[in-house]
């Protein structure tokens, strides 16, 4: 009896997942095992060609580069988000500061990328300042390289890291830091030995929230990056729109999805065992859905 009621109530959610998650995923899986159509699309014929084509050195290079850039961007994001989340959690007017973190979300993603182009471009804001100060007469080329892409990625996903870190640090008992200082630890030691181990779940969540979407990034490397910063998201888009190899696009998408969900799964699996000993109540690990990127 009870079970049936539960089923009724979860029906909307099941429908939602079927239509927006399972069905597209099914289509991608199916496409990745079919033969490439002549002008895009697929032929209804089983083939592993899309997977063998992935061994292409170009794709491997880009995969490796994507991984490297994602790791660097995630680490940078966490390094910035950690002090931000900490200071928000300790401040008197948390609501105001959280509001300021969230404000940029109200502006469209693409508009914010163009804002960065306006800042970093050859005729951009930063170069105007450099010229005005007579530091250089020529414009400095800030855009269209890996550094610029990583910078903008960090900017884009910083709030996703700050929010989970804030909510974990907010639950942290700051008298533990006093106690550590009291027992002889320096300020730095008290953070490393007491704060960090107790906010591990927040760090993991923040890391996933940034790593997963960055791994699938598409728009930022397209608009900000150059030849050296092409990422997997761009290759997938190229296969769809330029090369018109839909099965290859699907197989690369599958690989990205499997890699990221695998990572999430691994971390989620080893989490509860560790946490159980540490806390009575686990704030819980929210696992982000592997995103195809935008």
């Amino acid at each position: 009896m009870k079970k049936q009621v539960g089923l009724y109530y979860s029906l909307p959610q099941i429908m939602w997942l079927l239509v927006f998650f399972a069905a597209p995923l099914g289509i991608i899986i199916a496409y990745s095992f079919l033969k490439k159509g002549l002008y895009g699309g697929v032929e209804p014929q089983f083939s592993l060609e899309a997977y063998t084509a992935m061994a292409n050195p170009n794709i491997l290079i880009v995969t490796w580069r994507t991984l490297k850039m994602s790791v660097i961007a995630t680490i940078l994001t966490l390094l910035i988000a950690l002090p931000c989340g900490y200071s928000i959690a300790r401040s008197q007017n948390q609501a105001m500061r959280l509001f300021l973190v969230i404000v940029p979300f109200w502006t469209n993603f693409l508009v914010r990328i163009y804002a960065w182009i306006a800042i970093l471009g050859n005729e951009g804001f930063l170069n105007d300042i450099i010229r005005a100060l007579h530091l250089r007469s020529e414009s400095v080329q800030f855009l269209y390289n890996q550094t610029a892409v990583i910078l903008v990625l960090v900017y884009m996903y910083l709030p996703y890291a700050i929010l989970p870190l804030f909510s974990t640090i907010d639950k942290f008992d700051f008298t533990l830091l006093d106690a550590a200082r009291d027992l002889g630890a320096s300020r730095f030691q008290s953070y490393v030995r007491i704060l960090l181990p107790n906010i591990k779940s927040g760090l993991v969540t923040a890391g996933l929230f940034t790593f997963v979407p960055i791994f699938g990034a598409y728009a930022v490397p397209l608009l900000i990056g150059g030849k050296d910063s092409y990422m997997l998201g761009n290759i997938i888009a190229d296969q769809l729109t330029k090369t018109r190899n839909w099965p290859l696009a699907s197989s690369i998408s599958m690989t990205v999805t499997i890699l990221t969900t695998g990572l999430v799964f691994l971390i989620a699996m080893r989490k509860p065992r560790e946490q159980k000993q540490v806390f009575d109540a686990d704030p819980g690990l929210i696992t982000p859905v592997a995103s195809g990127g935008r």
Partner: protein, 369 residues
Amino acid sequence: MKGADVDIVGVSKFFGSFQALKNVSLSISKGEFFSLLGPSGCGKTTVLRLIGGFEEPDSGTIAIEGKNVIGLPPDKRHCNTVFQSYALFPHLSVFENVAFPLRIRKIPQQLVREKVMRYLSLVQLEMHAAKKPSQLSGGQRQRVAIARALINEPSILLLDEPLSALDAKLRQHMLMELDAIHDKVGITFIYVTHDQQEALSVSDRIAVMNMGEVLQIGTPRQIYENPATEFVARFIGETNVFSLKILSIDGTKIYGEVDGLGPMFVDDETDAKPGETVLATIRPEKIRISADLPNTNGGRINVLHGIVAEPIYSGFQTKYVVQLDTGMMVTVYRQHANWSEGIPDIEWKDEVYLSFSASDMVIVEMHEQ
């Protein structure tokens, strides 16, 4: 004071525009069990945090073992704290919690093991070394916090209401254990509490605080028997307060009048002059209650008349609230030691006489507010 372990002189502390401490001076000797006693919010924790180095005073000086410690961070001060909430590290085992100060100092593993086990046995927790704090009872957690605070061999241990989270029975037990530990390690304890019984039973000296001020410092007996102000008299135990208009003074023999009650004798020192009004107090256990008019033999005994408004039986004694003819309520304790000796039972609405000696009365300062 010379040889003082902790010397606080004229310390004030503001939080924004709110003054949490007003010109606080304390001098605590080496090895003393010193208590800070006062109601919630009076600034007890703030005093401890100033000594521990978590806050800096806005004015005044603090010296520990003769050295000025203003500006010195907590990790550089020779005192350790048992926090109000214990502040045990939830991710570390009991062993590692106690070992934490040694790990910071990079003591070799062999020594760490020996020392931690020694301090765990001091608080009788050797059996629980491997547990996490969340797996311990309240009393056990508190003992871990004590062991952890003692392992660096501080010269001063600061304890912030360490028993407040425990139930009444356990609190009594832990208090005696604390006292025993104090005797064993022989260092200075500065103990914060809002429970007067706790403070009276273990302290060498007590400082009574209210609203950021120290009102009186003294031994438990001095504080109880000779309270300096009305607040101290009322906060430590119960007391009855009369507004006494002084008629004549002869040395410490004061003769005066209480409005509506008539003449009253008080034996105490006072700076007041005849014609002035002072507050005279008498403790409930120092009043005799009887159904018949007591024979005073012409001694300096005060006798009042009233009706029992409320008898409260509590096993070892009965507390009577007696309404005097003027309407004033007086509290009296009667011990049951003599219950069987033929003294008639006194019950609700009985007419009674209250008698007490002038020498048991104490004159206290009024509070200007």
